[in-house]
Assembly symmetry: C2
Homo-oligomer: 181 residues x 2
């Protein structure tokens, strides 16, 4: 493996917000030339792949200001400082959907936009779902939607599901179903 | 479907860079309360799901400054202003890997981080691959890696593949192989 490291020459914090921090770095490329890198720091997030006893995926519809529209996603939320991702997954699942899980197992973690952000998203699989009360965050307005695998695949085709973590979760579910696991 | 729209009261552009633009909006929530939304505007990107005649996925290893490490991803790149995503996919595939495709078919589009960014990523499937010269962008340093499906799944398990679009592409490939398509 060759060394492609970009050495930091200078780093400037442009903005520190509630969710993200914007930083611009001057770097030296492997060939010695200079470049700028715009970096959005993010605390990380979790999402939950939850399939009901009826074989339906638990989804939430919510308004996303960056898109100026409501989209369909698996339950998810930002990590609080120092919070265990598994605890966060359990909390977000219950707050957004009312479902409680007897167990949550880590499935996969990935960087959502490694070109400009360090956000890492951890997907957990929920087991033993039971339905309770919906209790969303103060500034969160969500609607519960439950879909079969075929419905999820149709919604990906039609553009009704257009969220990276949700697309990944649906394909993973499809791969498991197709391979009989 | 209920209306969860967040009305913009004020919008401030904090930073305009080469890749991203940071904007902070004051919004009115559906219940009338006020909140702030931090929004990272991005031109969008494409990525290519390319499987060689030997049944291997075409990947590139590259340094990602936000993560301060090299990661393994499917070939991808930012959209230029007004560029057709299919043309961009063909260009990035050839620049980064040396592979040319006789055809590129749109598979899926998704928002990578809808909570804070409008980045939309379009995945194309490449057909009819032929190998030519690698010719990366001036400030891009990439290494070609080719992996079987089993190797990709192992690399997801081990954390060697930790990129959202690549994880989604591998699961899609697995689902297709498992269902015999």
């Amino acid at each position: 493996m060759r060394n492609f490291e970009e050495k930091t020459i200078a780093s400037q914090t442009i903005y520190t917000g509630k969710v993200v921090q914007l930083q611009v770095d001057d770097v030296q490329l492997p060939d010695g030339r200079a470049a700028k890198r715009e970096i959005v720091k993010h605390p990380g997030a979790v999402a939950v792949l939850a399939i009901t006893d009826e074989g339906k995926m638990v989804l939430v519809r919510q308004f996303r200001k960056p898109l100026e529209k409501t989209i369909l996603e698996i339950p998810a939320g930002k990590l609080e400082a120092g919070e265990d991702p598994g605890d966060c997954a359990a909390r977000e699942l219950e707050e957004e959907t009312g479902y409680r899980a007897t167990g949550l197992t880590h499935v996969v973690s990935f960087y959502t936009s490694p070109g400009f952000s360090d956000e890492c998203l951890h997907i957990y699989q929920a087991e033993g779902l039971t339905k309770g009360e919906v209790n969303p965050d103060e500034d969160e307005f969500v609607e519960l939607v439950e879909c079969t695998l075929d419905e999820c695949l149709e919604r990906i085709q039609s553009g009704d599901i257009m969220d990276a973590k949700t697309v990944a979760a649906v394909y993973l579910w499809q791969a498991r179903v197709s391979s009989g696991r």
